[in-house]
Symmetry: C2
Amino acid sequence: MKLSACLNQQSPEGEKSCLNSELWHACAGPLVSLPSIGSHVVYFPQGHSEQVAVSTNKEVDAQMPNYQSLPAQLVCQLHNVTMHADIETDEVYAQMTLQPLNAQEQKEVSFLPADMGAASKQPTNYFCKTLTASDTSTHGGFSVPRRAAEKVFPPLDFSQQPPAQELIARDLHNNEWKFRHIFRGQPKRHLLTTGWSVFVSAKRLVAGDSVLFIWNEKNQLLLGIRRANRPQTVMPSSVLSSDSMHLGLLAAAAHAAATNSRFTIFYNPRASPSEFVIPLAKYIKAVHHTRVSVGMRFRMLFETEESSVRRYMGTITGISDSDPVRWPNSHWRSVKVGWDESTAGERQPRVSLWEIEPLTTFPMYPSPFPLRLKRPWPSGLSSYAGMKIDDMGLN
Amino acid sequence: MKLSACLNQQSPEGEKSCLNSELWHACAGPLVSLPSIGSHVVYFPQGHSEQVAVSTNKEVDAQMPNYQSLPAQLVCQLHNVTMHADIETDEVYAQMTLQPLNAQEQKEVSFLPADMGAASKQPTNYFCKTLTASDTSTHGGFSVPRRAAEKVFPPLDFSQQPPAQELIARDLHNNEWKFRHIFRGQPKRHLLTTGWSVFVSAKRLVAGDSVLFIWNEKNQLLLGIRRANRPQTVMPSSVLSSDSMHLGLLAAAAHAAATNSRFTIFYNPRASPSEFVIPLAKYIKAVHHTRVSVGMRFRMLFETEESSVRRYMGTITGISDSDPVRWPNSHWRSVKVGWDESTAGERQPRVSLWEIEPLTTFPMYPSPFPLRLKRPWPSGLSSYAGMKIDDMGLN
DNA sequence: GTGTCGGCCGTCTGCCGACAA
DNA sequence: TTGTCGGCAGACGGCCGACAC
């Protein structure tokens, strides 16, 4: 996966203006993957709309007009992906340039298994710690977990008393942060002292937020932050009404689909409930090569608070359109599910096929409750009906 | 002009959740006026687009589709206006709910001269000071100009030595700020000491920003801020691409025009180069009751750095569409002008008719260079052609 | 009339090990 | 192993009049 990762695309491709891809992915989380440049993807305006709804903190108005000409999913070529981080908040997001394929291009589409878009592997030498009250207080510094310090910080010279060194770390904007790393106290522990409070106040970190350090192959120390899910962080955007924003994304997609021209979207992995630009191969495999039915058990990956991954189990309770009026025949969140461990609506009651792993793999014969076998593709993508899906070499 | 001015519209109309209209207007500046609720206005998507371009710091893409069905101006009823201020930055903006009039309504339209939308008068007991390096430094407090202190602060008890009192001021969010006001030093001067630095750091004020104090009729002390025009303050909005935002506002207006339904816009007076929701009467007067021609001299109001008003003079150098491709036959910025005092493109090279005062008032006979007399209204508003404009009692 | 400074005092920052969970 | 605290020293915040423009 090769990504152009420049913050400032107008500047020449200098090393200094580039966002570190490793750090971006670490901040985005272990489940976030970006499709490769040039690959084919499926774009869901419906999912994009969800992201806008979350960002503006306002559901889409029921009075909103429908874009009948806009299908629920667009097969696109991904022309560009750039990784960004908000200057104010360090929130990570990606900008993607998409171009809907015309009927002819859709027929000729081919893809490699590599385009499945596996979740990005997290760096090996990194650690992520949720800040305590002491870490963020002005009274002291940062207490470094012992294993973390030994894994990602350069080794201390223990002949000194106390052992100490200066660490220089760079954040997503390539800003430099200096910390005094010292091993002292009784019992001995690793601490960051001088420089730490400057960082905390500059990034406006509070207890509950997380910091993550990476020691990469180039022997550079990288430093990222992940804020706790504070409710109501978002502003209602004094630029454009949320209704107009919803209309805007629909209009942009509809215009691009009608003229097969490029359009630009922002994907904010920490704000979006689900990815809405999916590798085409992943979509095809999930929708056409997997049989799911009501009652079937499945697993799904979730991110833990410690930035690692765990599986939750659930049962499929229904298969239907999540928004039959606005988005009929859409595969977006078409699966209603119940979770084995349900903690007060913490997990979505609806998921998409490509998000889950069915536990019992059916061979390729009709299942008792087939999922829309008669209409494998919504009408808007009928050109796909002629595709020999079984020839694609997937699954 | 009566305005609903609640920040939180979902809460009951309690006094506490209401933005102070006087303070909002003081922060917005002396030239900003909001049309009255219920009145008829003309909405210019073109001007709205300018505001989005400025806010996203990106010009509209030349590849953007045209909305042929959307006229350059929409005559609307203004159903609601609410005043707001950004929670983070205190930037003032207004939310307006507009409903395009249908052909029948446009024929029956009537309006009062009061709807001309005179610029809001600034409060009498107020002062505005641009902060100096000393004012914002941590080393000391705020030096209050003598006339200002005497005009807007409650009188001190000069029998005390030194004379001092506690001032309590409320900002746009109705937050309370306490300051120690003292009259001391050699020579004697008014100072705000205790409490001032908390305010400066909370609002993140820097030298060059301005603060303004108002002493209103209810004997309340109000406190607002106006930031210096820092270049590049705006972020490129990680929510939606600027192209989609432009499309969104056009789609929202086009949909509302097609269905005569309400839509919502945000007007940010400090960001917008010009007002894009104009009282209908003001528009009619400027476009139909004023003769302008190339070579004519005019005056136009501008805001000074000290938050007062001054007139600049100029000469009309041409009359033409500012964007003949996208917005043909639009009155938005149809007047090309040259300024007597031109300071490096500080003032717009194009203005709209309702922004200027022609110096030589022509009587109502055809001028040597009439402005589009054959097409007083663009085709999209042809229903107005039957109006007896001369009966409206204006000018 | 007011912007900036030196002087001075008090509060808070921030580094230390103690201690307990 | 690590979160929080008391102790302490030094830095900075912040109030004062002096002084100059």
